[in-house]
Amino acid sequence: MRSHPDLPLAARVVGRVQETRDIFSLRLALLDATERAGYRSVPGQYNMLYLFGVGEVPISIVSDPDDGGPLEHTIRAVGRVTHGLERLRVGDTLGLRGPYGRGWPLDAARGSDVIVVTGGLGCAPVISMVRHMLRHRETFGFITLLQGVKHAEDLIWRRQYQTWAALPDVQVLLASDQGGMQWPHAMGNVTTLLDQARIPADGIAMLCGPERMMKAVIPLLTDRGMDPFRIWLSIERNMQCGIGHCGHCQVGPHFICQDGPVFRYPDIADWIDREGF
């Protein structure tokens, strides 16, 4: 391990996609060849991205760790750092350190059916997992993907969802609170999709998005026979150090940056969607 636990590495933007008006993806390559070759992550982990002279933000890695290419991050411009990152173009440089935190339970998911439920823009932490499962298709069972968004235009990776929907043993269900023109999918909350979804009673569920949404989805899964211990959630909080020191990301006794961001549901059940925590 490097002597300084939170020193970023220099990285270059090697690809950039404007996903929606305020969401963009950056594909990043570490400049140092040894660091680039040695970088290993697990789906669900995140990096701290550093904008020179401005600061750092925790951003999920959306590329599959096994794809071996640049590290892809999908970012919504909401604050000072993310607005600055939005202005980076191919060839620009920034800082990157990571990966941090606990990712999705790969071992538990192998050999199982998997249902992924995401809401709003919070789907980024599962994208890497979906890509990983599809790369190693024979290792995983039936894959159910449910995604709800507020506005139809918030649905990023629309083409990717279409591709996934066409694959065998994959079910994709999408819903939007506000559909608009040419929205061929369901209207309303992601919970409205659960009736039509294939829910694997002995499978694994991976949830991510607003805590209220996740809290609403969990009883719908357990009512259909899912074991709460096989439901996993990705939680989001303010993180400044990423290494469990600065204290910002605490939810009850948990440091989201290190104990999470992915938690087994019973471990975090007392704290999610609870005002002030």
Binding site: L7, P8, V78, H245
Partner: protein
């Protein structure tokens, strides 16, 4: 409003009715470890200790010095700089020093700062970055500091307990903090058994004092005629041996033991146990959080003086040229809006929620994170709260409420 600005006093139930949440039915009272190794250092000869520290490799010695109306750790060169005759008067929201006509240098409870600033600096450079002159790519360089070996004199048991807790937080995890680690290793700790607890002290109830039992290199007990001195580490034993002091007499040791027992008995405040996690978790929706939230100014003084609070923010200070920048960490507080900022909302937008966060973390969350409560009973949060909020009274009032069900 009462003069101390505390507003309507919280309803404090009769302490006898409060259930004790702990393993034993009463706070422990430690007898000082005054065994045969205890030596006597005459007051007239006390400078000898400072001289011995200097020749043992500690050119910098910090001791309590009365300055700007409070006791602060400052560099000292001779024993006469210590606060002889000084007493502290601490009550909720008040700290005053006054002078007695006696030679006692440690007859006070504590000042506003524990050891925290010495190991976890209030503001610290973590790394620098510079844009490469050709590629403009950032080149990162971590900050290197070599802390000067420092002896600290006059540390209390509560502050040693707090140091051990912060050490656990910063250095025992997967990512040991090199700054904290280097600073901690540079310290030689000379503690003092506390003989004059303040009205705000409650370390006996948390099990952390007033007698020093662990975490020190040397420990002193102050008598009129001088100091009983014993070692708590290999370094301390070596230094004590080199001083070649006479052994303490049985009468002296007995006197020091009685002083420690008196200091325990003198404590007026207490927490109702050392294991408050469950009773607090059972009351996350208690009405009392609103009552304390109305009085709390959300100023963060309690977190700044708390010897265990570790929250900090990270920030960049770029040079005007735009080519160089420094990345720092700086003490922060769960009472600040910044602490729970999420880009599009605040997790804790009001004071009720921030006070609840602070108290539940301190007395409940720490148990799961570090195996014990995060409170060492130093009482600083009570003294330095501008409106005199008293953690022991708030806990008592909270625990007097019936258990509320979690809202669904």
């Amino acid at each position: 409003m009462p003069r101390d600005g505390t507003g309507p006093a919280p309803v404090i139930p009769n302490p006898i009715q409060i259930k004790y949440y702990g393993n034993s039915s009463a706070p422990a009272c430690y007898a000082p470890d005054m065994d045969s190794e205890t030596r006597f250092l005459p007051r007239t000869d006390a400078d000898q200790l400072l001289e011995r520290l200097r020749v043992s490799g500690f050119p910098r010695i910090l001791g309590p010095v009365a300055r700007d109306g409070s006791l602060v750790f400052s560099p000292i060169h001779q024993w006469s700089q210590l606060p002889a005759g000084i007493r502290d008067m601490q009550t909720p929201g008040t700290y005053r020093l006054h002078r007695h006509a006696d030679p006692l240098c440690f007859a006070w409870a504590n000042g506003p700062q524990a050891l925290k600033p010495l190991t976890f600096a209030g503001r610290e450079l973590l790394w620098r970055a510079e844009r490469h002159h050709e590629t403009a790519a950032p080149v990162f360089e971590h900050a290197e500091d070599t802390p000067e070996p420092t002896a600290v004199l006059g540390i209390r048991a509560c502050d040693l307990a707090a140091l051990a807790l912060q050490e656990k937080h910063f250095t025992h995890g997967r990512f040991p903090d090199p700054f904290f680690g280097r600073r901690r290793r540079s310290l030689f700790l000379i503690a003092v058994h506390c003989s004059h607890p303040a009205s705000t002290c409650f370390c006996a109830s948390t099990g952390d004092g007033p007698t020093v039992t662990r975490g020190h290199d040397l420990v002193l007990a102050e008598l009129d005629e001088g100091y009983l001195i014993s070692a708590g580490s290999r370094g301390g034993r070596r230094l004590l041996k080199d001083m070649a002091l006479p052994p303490a007499t049985a009468a002296q040791v007995q006197w020091a033991e009685r002083a420690s027992a008196r200091a325990t008995a003198a404590q007026m405040r207490h927490l109702p146990g050392r294991h408050l996690k469950q009773p607090i978790h059972d009351r996350l929706e208690a009405r009392h959080w609103s009552r304390v939230g109305e009085r709390c100014l959300s100023c963060g003084n309690c977190t700044a003086v708390c010897p265990t609070c570790f929250c900090h923010m990270e920030l960049d200070e770029p040079a005007l040229s735009g080519h160089r920048t420094e990345h720092l960490r700086q003490w922060s507080s769960c009472f600040n809006a910044e602490h729970s900022y999420m880009g599009h909302f605040l997790v804790r937008s009001d004071t009720r929620l921030r006070y609840r966060q602070w108290l539940t973390h301190k007395l409940a969350g720490w148990h799961e994170q570090y195996g014990r409560s995060g409170c060492v009973g130093c009482g600083r949060c009570i003294t330095w709260c501008p409106v005199g909020i008293d953690i022991t009274a708030e806990v008592a009032a909270l625990l007097a409420e019936e258990i509320h069900a979690q809202p669904s």
